[in-house]
């Protein structure tokens, strides 16, 4: 843990003099606190002055809003704003406890994750890849048929690779968790596969945040994938 350099003017009542009592996480202690103290020393917001022990008059709601606005305005990276506000919440809460006063706290910062745009990569290249994979799948299926007739050795066509590729290309299994669930289902495929009213479907068991079997998703494959599934050794039953 690095030692925090405090402003020269800070008195003994500086809240940040003993960061240990603020219940900061190791990251907040090592990464966030230092730049935050520099920020407070540079911009002199009233809340910062009180926390640093430079001013006595407790802050009000407007001072808190001013501090929030200052952080948003001066710091471009929202993650740093969020981290700084979290530390400030802890510091102001501690100040309230110590001084036995009821004062407004900074609001809770939330940084919603920015969704990933599926068109991040050039779509033309992705469509080319799609065409190549379709051609590859076609080739594997033909090869598989030929190998089945001539009973040659193992080829990709003889493995579950065509099934996985078909499931992704045509069956709509486009996230990794679902594909992995399909693969995991193979050792005991009969337990997962069912045929209802002429329609094949698979019960895929998905994990959630590392905990297995938290969700069961019923997947109905397309015709080609269903045929490939039935042709795999486990699927024939």
């Amino acid at each position: 843990m690095s030692r925090i350099e405090l402003p020269a003017t800070a008195s003994a009542e500086n809240i940040f003099a003993r960061p240990g009592v603020l219940d900061l996480t190791p990251r907040q202690n090592t990464v966030v606190l230092g730049p935050l103290l520099e920020f407070l020393a540079k911009h002199h917001p009233h809340v910062g002055q009180v926390l640093l022990g430079i001013a006595d008059k407790p802050w009000d709601r407007n001072d808190i809003r001013q501090l929030e606005s200052l952080l948003v305005r001066e710091i471009e990276d929202p993650a740093i704003v969020r981290d700084s506000l979290r530390v400030l919440r802890k510091a102001t809460a501690f100040y309230m406890l110590r001084e036995r006063r009821k004062l407004p706290l900074p609001r809770i910062p939330v940084l919603p994750a920015e969704p990933k745009n599926p068109f991040r990569n050039p779509v033309q290249r992705e469509l080319q890849r799609y065409a190549v994979w379709k051609a590859t799948l076609k080739k594997w299926i033909w090869e598989g048929d030929a190998a089945g007739k001539s009973e040659k050795g193992a080829t990709p066509a003889g493995s579950i690779a065509p099934l996985i590729v078909s499931a992704i290309l045509h069956g709509g299994l486009v996230n990794m968790a679902s594909v992995l669930a399909l693969v995991r289902a193979f050792p005991d495929l009969n337990r997962h596969v069912a045929l209802t009213d002429g329609r094949l479907h698979l019960d895929l068991s998905l994990s959630w945040r590392g905990i297995p079997d938290m969700e069961t998703r019923r997947w109905q494959p397309d015709a080609l994938t269903a045929v490939l599934l039935l042709r795999t050794p486990g699927g024939r039953g």
Binding site: V72, E76, V110, P115
Partner: protein, 875 residues
């Protein structure tokens, strides 16, 4: 003093670059032997309007103020270098007629000349009051001309504000003010504007404000006045007791003593700033009050500028949960004057590019949890089953209850008020400002008015029409309309009264006429002047109490009633937020950027309104409230139907067709044999025009923004589907990348262009490459990039529109042709969090998108005359 004069001269060189009227006035001053640098200094210190609106009256009042100023202890004109202003002001006043004729000769927009000489109504209001707050204040004198005390006090108040203003600007030093988009720090202009707004309130005719003005200690010294004003604030009870004798005159100008108190505080803060500008600390406010200071973080209730922050409320801003569970979304604004200037030159909103979402701030843990669960995203989707909306049955129940109670006068008034809010989507404030006109009343200059057909006849069929002022966009540059080539815009539009709001308004009007005997409500008086029908100032408290009496659960709030029409329009149009904002005069944050690209025709808006209101009325009828009383459209049936509203510089279809035809003819024109020099000129001319044609074809098809190289290399487009990805706004995260579909004819044009560029290899010019798929040639025949700075000089003569004209033009045209707004949003690349067409919960289909564009955009491009043309390769 000599040093400061030098400073003035230095400013002279840099200022007024893009302010033609100011530059012309300075030139006229110089020609007349006046000190033009001093004049420039004056215009800067008062932040004059670039069109010189109201300058004559401002100069007249400035002279009066400067004459009175020495009476104020501590006000030294010499210290502020204002002691030598009088000769220049006097020159302007004596030469006003010749100046007006010289600045605004015949043939120019007569409005500019009228504004310059304007004496009847404040010309700066509506065209820049926020940016030129001091001018707006200086133009005004107290309306009670006969009252010398009021005149004197108002003049002294203006003197104090002027002194502080000049001191602050002097402290900030020389500044390139003429580039109006600049400000020393975000929020600076608000800090100047709000105190001037507060001071203008004291110049109202209302007895409350007049009384307050008389009580202002404006004779106090410069240093004492702020404290005196603050001290006065504590004595507000005195003011509150004064205007007990309410008259109908007061009803026209509802004010509250709380507003007086706020205004005093605001002025006091500003004067303190002016006394010691060096020790001023920028303060931030939460969106309430008028306190002088810096940047605001605003909430949903603020109409000024929703872009600096928006709030998502758990329920309503005025609901039972208003103090908890709110989530404020903040934005970081990059201070980048260069980019800002470039964007403004292209007539784009800089906030679209310079604002980036920062953290959201939750009031409590519940709001934080909701935010993490995607609450804000869901709010942005404007789903019809939101908690903050009223169901049809709830709404029908309220309206039935209100209608049943309207025998009592106070309920009669509230019934008319609620009807107005519901069917116009107005807030309480907007509804309170409603002016009612009868036949013969001059058209009022207000946001919302209502014309009734037969106000005097109790048995007549109720009918009428709303007259709505189009919601203005916060433009920060001056752009003259391209007469004859752009969609003609109108300031007002008329909406029919489809649900017989006339009934309730006439009922209340009749009561005011016959029982209250209000003079201003009589027909003869109303013929001369429109009548403000909702004259009380306590609706903000009375209306919620009235609604609580109907439904004690707290579900029914004023905000929900106000929001109903906006939501209805959004639902009926499939998400046309810009039209909903224009029709209801709601500056909704989701519509803020979209409005910069929407210039819908008035007829189109009227059709949307008819559909939305008709549908809502039908649903209410099912819920037990028969609202539908299809009234004949009033005498103004045809009035206000022409023109368009919204963003400016949207070309007409004919203008685009003509420009494309002209361009084609120039490209096809065979070069005449001549010298080598002539050959090069001809070659460059044809190459540039051909390149421009290709760039326009691409821009019209995909709506690319006005960026450097607004074009794609054709191998980047999937040959089978025509899909490609472009990044014309993205900051690096990929969030704003968008999928585009390039129509076959445009792809063909691109291939022809690339073949042409390949043929230029023999002339030492590069072929099309991914990094440089197109280029112009300079006079020497060297490649230069295609960008707004190189496109604009080329198009200025025959098509004087910004480079991104296609976005505004195609969006407006296709929406009027019936294309769904969500398709156009995907085409434009407009989405906020939760609205992404590729988002997790989105049901948007790109296959359908292509299908719709194939059916609408392709025929439209054909109609424009966009055909692939080849340019023969030269030897």
């Amino acid at each position: 003093m000599a040093a400061s004069r030098q400073s003035r001269n230095r400013n002279t060189k840099s200022a007024a670059g893009n302010q033609p009227f100011i530059a012309q006035l300075l030139a006229m001053a110089k020609a007349a032997g006046q000190d033009d640098s001093l004049l420039r200094e004056i215009l800067w210190r008062i932040q004059a309007h670039p069109e010189l609106a109201g300058l004559i009256y401002i100069c007249r009042h400035l002279r009066e103020i400067l004459a009175l100023a020495p009476e104020i202890p501590g006000f030294s004109l010499a210290a502020l270098e204002m002691d030598d202003w009088d000769p220049v002001l006097s020159w302007i006043l004596t030469k006003k007629t010749s100046l007006a004729e010289g600045l605004f000769p015949k043939g120019r927009d007569s409005r500019l000349k009228d504004n310059f000489l304007q004496s009847a109504k404040n010309p700066i209001l509506g065209i820049g009051a926020k940016r030129h707050g001091l001018c707006c204040l200086l133009w005004a004198s107290h309306p009670r001309l006969s009252d010398a005390g009021l005149q004197r006090n108002s003049c002294l108040l203006q003197a104090h504000i002027l002194r502080a203003h000049v001191a602050i600007l002097r402290h900030l030093g020389p500044h390139e003010i003429w580039d109006l988009e600049q400000e020393p720090y975000p929020g600076f202009r608000d800090s100047l504007y709000l105190p001037t707004l507060a001071a203008r309130r004291f110049l109202r005719r209302s007895s409350v404000w007049s009384y307050a003005l008389l009580g202002l200690p404006v004779h106090s010294g410069v240093d004492e006045l702020p404290n005196e004003l603050r001290r006065k604030e504590t004595e507000s009870a005195t003011v509150a007791a004064a205007p007990q004798a309410e008259t109908l005159e007061n009803l026209d100008h509802p004010v509250s003593t709380r507003n007086v108190s706020r205004a005093r505080t605001s002025i006091a803060g500003f004067l303190e700033w002016g006394c010691a500008p060096e020790s001023h600390s920028k303060r931030t406010h939460d969106g309430h009050g008028l306190g002088g200071g810096g940047e605001w973080i605003r909430g949903e209730g603020d109409k000024e500028d929703c872009k600096t922050g928006t709030t998502t409320y758990f329920g309503d801003a005025d609901g039972v949960h208003r103090h908890a569970g709110n989530l404020q979304h903040t934005f970081h604004r990059r201070f980048d004057p260069g980019t800002s200037r470039q964007l403004l030159a292209s007539d784009m909103d800089p906030n679209e590019y310079l604002l980036t979402p920062s953290v959201s701030l939750a009031d409590d843990a519940a709001a934080a949890a909701f935010a993490n669960a995607g609450w804000a995203e869901k709010t942005n989707q404007m789903l019809p089953w939101s908690y903050s909306l009223l169901s049809t049955f709830e709404l029908a129940h309220i309206l039935r209850e209100i209608a049943d109670r309207r025998q009592r006068p106070e309920d009669m008034e509230l019934h008319a008020m609620v009807q107005t809010m519901l069917w116009t989507g107005s807030s309480v404030e907007q509804a309170m400002a409603l002016l009612v006109c009868v036949k013969g009343t001059p058209a009022p200059d207000c946001d919302l008015s209502f014309s009734i057909q037969a106000a005097t006849n109790a048995n007549s069929t109720a009918s009428g029409a709303w007259r709505v002022r189009a919601l203005a966009l916060p433009y920060r540059t001056l752009q003259q309309p391209v007469t004859g080539k752009d969609r003609e815009r109108t300031d007002y539009f008329v909406l029919p009264d489809l649900t017989a709001v006339s009934d309730s308004i006439q009922l209340w009007l009749r009561y005011l006429r016959e029982v209250v005997k209000a003079p201003a409500a009589q027909t003869a008086a109303m013929r001369r002047q429109p009548f403000r029908i909702f004259g009380n100032d306590d609706y903000e408290t009375r209306l919620p109490a009235f609604l609580r009496a109907i439904d004690s659960s707290g579900r029914i709030t004023v905000s929900k009633i106000q929001r109903t029409l906006f939501q209805q329009i959004v639902e009926r149009t499939g998400g046309d937020l810009a039209s909903a904002a224009l029709l209801t005069r709601t500056d909704h944050y989701l519509a803020s950027v979209r409005r910069f690209y929407a210039t819908p025709g008035v007829i189109h808006l009227q059709n949307i309104y008819r559909d939305a209101v008709g549908n809502l009325a039908a649903k209410l009828a099912q819920g037990g409230y028969p609202a539908t009383q299809a009234c004949p459209v009033s005498r103004e049936k045809n009035a206000g139907c022409s023109g368009a509203v919204g963003s400016r510089l949207c070309p007409t279809r004919h203008a685009v067709q003509s420009a494309l035809a002209w361009l084609r003819s120039k490209i096809r024109k065979k070069p005449a044999p001549g010298t080598d020099e002539g050959f090069l000129t001809e070659f460059v001319r044809r190459h540039n025009k051909y390149t421009l044609y290709c760039v326009w074809s691409f821009g019209l098809a995909v709506g690319v923004r006005g960026i450097r190289t607004p074009y794609l290399h054709s191998p980047a487009i999937d040959p089978d589907s025509g899909f490609a990805t472009i990044s014309d706004k993205d900051s690096g995260s990929g969030y704003h990348l968008r999928l585009i579909w390039v129509p076959p004819k445009v792809r063909q044009q691109m291939q022809l262009y690339e073949a042409y560029l390949s043929s230029l290899k023999n002339r030492g010019l590069p072929p099309a490459r991914r990094k440089q798929p197109c280029y112009f040639l300079d006079d020497e025949g060297n490649p230069v990039p295609v960008q707004p700075a190189t496109i604009l000089p080329m198009t200025r003569q025959f098509f004087p529109f910004p480079t991104n004209f296609a976005r505004r033009f195609i969006r407006t045209e296709l929406l009027e042709l019936g294309v769904a707004p969500e398709i156009m949003d995907a085409w434009m690349g407009h989405w906020w969090r939760g609205e992404e067409p590729w988002g997790r919960y989105s049901t948007f289909s790109y296959a359908k998108y292509r299908e719709v564009l194939q059916d609408t955009l392709v025929p439209f491009l054909d109609e424009l005359g966009l055909q692939p043309i080849a340019l023969e390769t030269w030897p």
